[in-house]
Symmetry: C6
Subunit: 245 residues, 6 copies
Amino acid sequence: MTEERAGTGVKGLDEMLGGGFVPGSMILVRGAPGTGKTCLALQYLIHGASKQNEPGLLISFEEFPSSLYRDAKSLGWDLAKLEAEGKLHMLFTSPEVFLTGLESPESQLNQLILTGGIRRLALDSVSHFDRLTSLEAELRPVYTGVTNGLRREGVTAMLLGEEGPSEYRRAFKGGLSFLVDAVVVLRHVEIESTMQRAVVVLKMRGSSHAKEIRRFEIGPKGLAVTDTFRGREGLLSGMPHRAPG
Amino acid sequence: MTEERAGTGVKGLDEMLGGGFVPGSMILVRGAPGTGKTCLALQYLIHGASKQNEPGLLISFEEFPSSLYRDAKSLGWDLAKLEAEGKLHMLFTSPEVFLTGLESPESQLNQLILTGGIRRLALDSVSHFDRLTSLEAELRPVYTGVTNGLRREGVTAMLLGEEGPSEYRRAFKGGLSFLVDAVVVLRHVEIESTMQRAVVVLKMRGSSHAKEIRRFEIGPKGLAVTDTFRGREGLLSGMPHRAPG
Amino acid sequence: MTEERAGTGVKGLDEMLGGGFVPGSMILVRGAPGTGKTCLALQYLIHGASKQNEPGLLISFEEFPSSLYRDAKSLGWDLAKLEAEGKLHMLFTSPEVFLTGLESPESQLNQLILTGGIRRLALDSVSHFDRLTSLEAELRPVYTGVTNGLRREGVTAMLLGEEGPSEYRRAFKGGLSFLVDAVVVLRHVEIESTMQRAVVVLKMRGSSHAKEIRRFEIGPKGLAVTDTFRGREGLLSGMPHRAPG
Amino acid sequence: MTEERAGTGVKGLDEMLGGGFVPGSMILVRGAPGTGKTCLALQYLIHGASKQNEPGLLISFEEFPSSLYRDAKSLGWDLAKLEAEGKLHMLFTSPEVFLTGLESPESQLNQLILTGGIRRLALDSVSHFDRLTSLEAELRPVYTGVTNGLRREGVTAMLLGEEGPSEYRRAFKGGLSFLVDAVVVLRHVEIESTMQRAVVVLKMRGSSHAKEIRRFEIGPKGLAVTDTFRGREGLLSGMPHRAPG
Amino acid sequence: MTEERAGTGVKGLDEMLGGGFVPGSMILVRGAPGTGKTCLALQYLIHGASKQNEPGLLISFEEFPSSLYRDAKSLGWDLAKLEAEGKLHMLFTSPEVFLTGLESPESQLNQLILTGGIRRLALDSVSHFDRLTSLEAELRPVYTGVTNGLRREGVTAMLLGEEGPSEYRRAFKGGLSFLVDAVVVLRHVEIESTMQRAVVVLKMRGSSHAKEIRRFEIGPKGLAVTDTFRGREGLLSGMPHRAPG
Amino acid sequence: MTEERAGTGVKGLDEMLGGGFVPGSMILVRGAPGTGKTCLALQYLIHGASKQNEPGLLISFEEFPSSLYRDAKSLGWDLAKLEAEGKLHMLFTSPEVFLTGLESPESQLNQLILTGGIRRLALDSVSHFDRLTSLEAELRPVYTGVTNGLRREGVTAMLLGEEGPSEYRRAFKGGLSFLVDAVVVLRHVEIESTMQRAVVVLKMRGSSHAKEIRRFEIGPKGLAVTDTFRGREGLLSGMPHRAPG
């Protein structure tokens, strides 16, 4: 018997993931500004809370709470209602406090995870840990601490990672991509004088997954993952173009 | 009922923005020299002041006041008249003074925003904050301070950001693009031995927006956003070319 | 009479290798996250243990043991059974302890190799040694120490090396590729809006080997190396495209 | 009534500029070695001196006076004659002396501008200021000092800036392009196994201007700006090629 | 009368070299891992020792002697036999000891060259000198010392240089390519989903040489240099592709 | 009446130069290893000495005298004879001694120039001055010192500059290209699986010059500059290819 997967509720994406993320796994979602990382994290938490009975926790290091509520609302979600029902929790903190809390059983973070029965967690964004040290070599242990700490909590954690417009071709700082169980990349793709969003699952330990690069759409009705970019090459290289012939 | 959007008065652009910017949002306008950032900021303030009854404030760290008046005049705008009517305010200051003022209720900046009933603000340019520190990691808190400070003021703020000719493909310094609610990119695009201007909305929190890359024109009659670059690829990559076939 | 080669059990790959790796050789397997390095290492050890009577040792600097068991299980392998039979050993340690142990006959590492009759070894990953020094010039002697130490042990060692998405075009840190006997590169290759895996053998001292770039697949039935990418150019350059004409 | 523009006397270029440069503006002319920056500066000064009754001043930080006279002569210009008539002045100085002089009313520089009735100025080259500091952040204030100082003098100033063969795609050091009113780029363009010169006006505050990339020719009869590069793409990217189809 | 050239015994390559290397010259052989540098060096020494009566010396800074014997054997060469006959000598040493020895007549190195009548020398690899200093400017004198020292010995020396997969486009460290008399580049070239080896002679002082980029093959029967890459462009740029039309 | 030009004796090149270099000018010849810089310098000196009655001086910072004689001989030139006739002089020295000598009337350098009636000079190579300082900003004054010193000597000087395979696209160190009167670039160009040599004159103060990129050939009969690369694009970009259509 296989464990139930942690679905996102986005049909196309869950199909790509073989039903959803593997429970207890660490998922890195990388993307440039505007590619929809925060929307995907909200969707992931809301779906768990409302459809899979998995209470969620959103940890934000920077965003204004009010912005989040407004963003969610524009997609048809009522965060306040889920919070009132105890299905969704928000924690606005700093990277330093988060790291300390992860180590201490009595911390607000751990109490919240324990009493709230948190099963899903989203961290917006792991890139803030980059600023704790200027030495690349010191960053890896920080990331190891984060992922090991979260694994001990038993949550299925989505870690949002900030990228520049073409940084997919560079190694992610501190080798985080090697530490996590799954890597989802969101990209802006220029097609016929239009910026479209693409999603691809680059890595998924312990599971098979779809390899397609698919369209990722965010509209007033929420998120959708649809078809592939038929007849296009170079989507992830930053130079998409129509294939010859 | 939705809030009224903060329009720019440029018909094509307002359509792309779903009517205009979301009130209270932070908008980053990135562009190389000559792509029209200052013109767009002036247009945004003038439209608010004269058509939506939203008094505006332009904060400049470098430009000569006389240059601004002349530039505006060449586009058919009379800044002095709007100033005399109390609809437009100019503040020529330094990044350091601005940051200090943002924190202090008695500062000239805050008094001006309060007494002038300022609703729209343009900052030319945020790139000057880059020079306050040589450490990338120290820049993010500066930008967080700026955007949080402006959010507290309740203004809809357009932050102009300086880029080199092909820097769109690099992450914007200090991760500012992740902090703001909207990102508008202006670009020079070489088409048939001519440099044209392009505009694209890369990010817009809490709203849907058009994804097209459209022509952005500045002429004696003002600004216009028109059609897409049909049949072209690689517009944002810095290597635009005619698509094969 | 030639020595028996250390096969991987992946038919297509063993064909490329002229039967398998040369016994006693040092093999660098380079790849980006999600290209299948750990899967290949497990496959290599399991095949040796179960089909060629070569006990194996997996040394991991970071991964959770439980993750490894789960990953193996998803590919149809039962690591625990092999461990119980004494055919497979796991060592979770740090780069520093590993390096010290390699030098000392009484170390846990050496005792394990000796008493376990270890013939195959996999190290996940050599990139952790990069973090022991910030000077490129000091890294080479570290790598020389690792490869010479392992050569003295007489094992056939697979060293996993972490790369970013397009780092194949850069020299591997510390010149490790020059020190080892064989270099196998795993790559993500974008073909028709899909990310496929490719494998190529770039170097193999003391043996001829196939030069093709072939598809590398990981599925519920395990690993497979199949056909070449007919009609494609630029596979390793990071810009694969259909060849004209 | 509009002010008379500061023409260059090169018909094709003056057309692109809407008649000439805006009086009192700061113009950056960027180009690689051999693209004709100094020739354009001489042409600009000579035309002002001889045709628009605007005495000119050439400030050079490095070139031998004799080289300048010879270069001018090869283009059919007699600098000595214009100097004798008091229409053209030459100042061979250092960046440090220039900066100090700009601040002091009694300096040789200011006396020369005052008594000579200087209306046009050319500075060869602003890149020498780069060498005054090794910190990018300290360079901007230097450039601000130069442009503000020259604005106070009331001259229309052409600032020559040194670039490498493909540096157009990088931001100009110290953000000078953002400080000036106009940016003219000169480029070498490889067309059919020949290096041709191209000129483009990237920025012009307070005026409309042509956007074409045109041929820029230097011959024994002087300078000429002619047609566009019809059917070519990628002219400014450094990889010009014939457009398909 | 011309001196006899120092042939490699690889027919296709000797033709390219006008018969072989110029006696007494310094030859840099650059290549990425797996391109066949060590094989070419062995071939060069063996041919000299067995066919041109030129005793050879291989100096290795890193490789295990046993690996070398095995590699040679796989290509059908018996190094031990040549050593027993006094035609081939091996010296496993460090860069520091080598440099000191080069200066001192009594050193093991010089005694070996003198008593062994060494005419050909191969150094594997010169890249180890890079690690003696972190300052590029200090590296040139080191290389000058190496090449001048070897010139004084009167040997024809092949210096192997390590490159990354695409480093041909970068200057070789310390400007070594400018110091030597000949430069031979070995490259991996991707053709139709296969990695092939290519060889090109970029420089050869005092002699004409073929300019073709040819296939370089290593098989059980040894080395071969065959035909050119007809109909291909961009071989050395790292992006080989079929030429259009 | 125009001064006689300093020809190179290479017919195709002298045509490109309008007869030869302008007397008294500073000429930078840039090129990668093996592009023929030293050959061109020898040809330039020999032609002046034997055909235009202009005694020449070759200053070398590194090359062995014997190598130079051999190289010249392979091209059919007898340097020793010209030396014996007092038409050609060789000076093997260091950058430091050269710089000091340039400033002092009694130096060996100045005495040689004076008593030898030197009219042409070649310096192999100016890149050695790069090593005198690690600060880019300190390099410019060194180069200014060299060019101004040589201008005072009244010689027509060819300065050889070392480049990597694709460094044409980078600015030459210390801005030397801006200081000199002429820039000649030698390049390796890959055409149909063959490395050919190309020459282009990028800059020539005080003279018109051909803009073509032409073939540059070095054979047993000496140097030749022939036709252009008809139907090819991207020659100087490092990615030459057949133009479409």
